[in-house]
Amino acid sequence: MTASDDERIAYLAGEDVPSLSAEEAAELDALRAELGVAAVWDEPPASLEDQVVRAVTEAAAAERASHATMAAEPGAAAPAQPAPAEGAPSWWGRLRARLALHRPALALGLPVVAAAAVAIVLVTSSNGGPHELQFAMVVQGTPLAPGAHGSATLTKKVSGWEIKLNATGLPRREGQQFYQAWLKNAAGVLVPVGTFNDARNVTLWSGVPVTKFRSLSVTQQVANGNPKSSGRRVLTGTIR
């Protein structure tokens, strides 16, 4: 039987609660540990606010000056923002816009960090024939499962992104209990990618791009009608 909310709160507040399961105690211990981390309580110096404002406004002024210089150069094209090709994917439209923006900079010999990444994408998509875009990540255990570890490969297929997970150190869950894997994007949106009993040699599928949903996590779940993540993460990994 799981502890009541008041018992969980009491434990969190430092009381001894014998009715708490080891799993629940471990989850709450992780939060208690986080509350003891210095970074949670460290205050930035008052001067940092002005430093940040100055850094951003100087960067904005530098960019405006750069645009003004490029516009004044004879023969240089003004930064253009072409409309994406009709029917093209939105990411392709953004890529074309970014290329057009940096063309004057390239002509002036100014470094453009995005150019290298653009070239990689173009080569991959222009070669023709079947290409499998693939990523790999290490997955690590959490305070709930400190001994768990493994790896995952994420491969672009016609059906979506195939995720092959191979992790050890997690006990098998059966019956009403199971594991569920999730992908998460920078905005914190969670997308479920599959459920399983054992983390060794699992194939999952994602309908969202792993290039945007770069964080993989596995949670302990119970078949109680609640489709949401339990929050009890046992494995995590990120494409960097």
Partner: protein
């Protein structure tokens, strides 16, 4: 954070930058300190984070929550900064004192930095008196009796404030079932 402020942030308006810093600056700083273990470096990472956020602001959907987006930038900036600092050549490790701020262990994971952001945000939303009790209890490691003596209040008052504070934290951080 209203859309007008976000739009002005994209334009590099100093007042908008200041408004967004006041909303999220502490959280970004907390992530940087957690990643780097050094306040000076954390200040630099905080500045870099806001500059990067400004640069990327034009591509962000105005309807999207700015907090998680900014948190992701803070995490990446802190981890990238850590890696660059780790690759710098310097004195042999044996010649450096163990408590030298430049000597850091493996960086906190992206997951840990995410937790720091979430916990810092929840702690920041507590009333001042409750937040102080949580800080004394978890960061200073004090008992309820010691906290009561320090604050000059009854132990019962400390216990009730502590329970309320932890209920708020558990609710905010999803540790309650009902």
């Amino acid at each position: 954070m209203d859309r007008a402020t976000r739009r002005r942030f994209r334009d590099g308006d100093p007042d908008a930058v200041r408004a967004i810093y006041r909303e999220y600056g502490r959280l970004v700083f907390a992530v940087a300190v957690r990643a780097l273990g050094d306040r000076g470096l954390a200040e630099e990472v905080t500045q870099q984070t806001f500059v990067k956020a400004w640069r990327a602001a034009a591509s962000v959907d105005e309807s999207r929550e700015i907090g998680p987006w900014l948190a992701a930038i803070a995490r990446r900036t802190a981890i990238d900064f850590y890696r660059r600092e780790s690759l710098r050549t310097g004195a042999p490790l044996e010649s450096v004192a163990a408590d030298d701020p430049a000597v850091v262990t493996a960086p906190a994971s992206a997951e840990a930095l995410y937790e720091t952001w979430e916990v810092r945000q929840a702690v920041g939303e507590l009333p001042d008196d409750e937040r102080e009790i949580v800080r004394l209890q978890h960061f200073e490691g004090m008992t309820h009796g010691q906290i009561a003596a320090q604050l000059g209040v009854a132990v019962g008052t400390v216990k009730s404030r502590s329970f309320r504070a932890h209920r708020r934290l558990a609710t905010a951080l999803g540790h309650l079932r009902e």
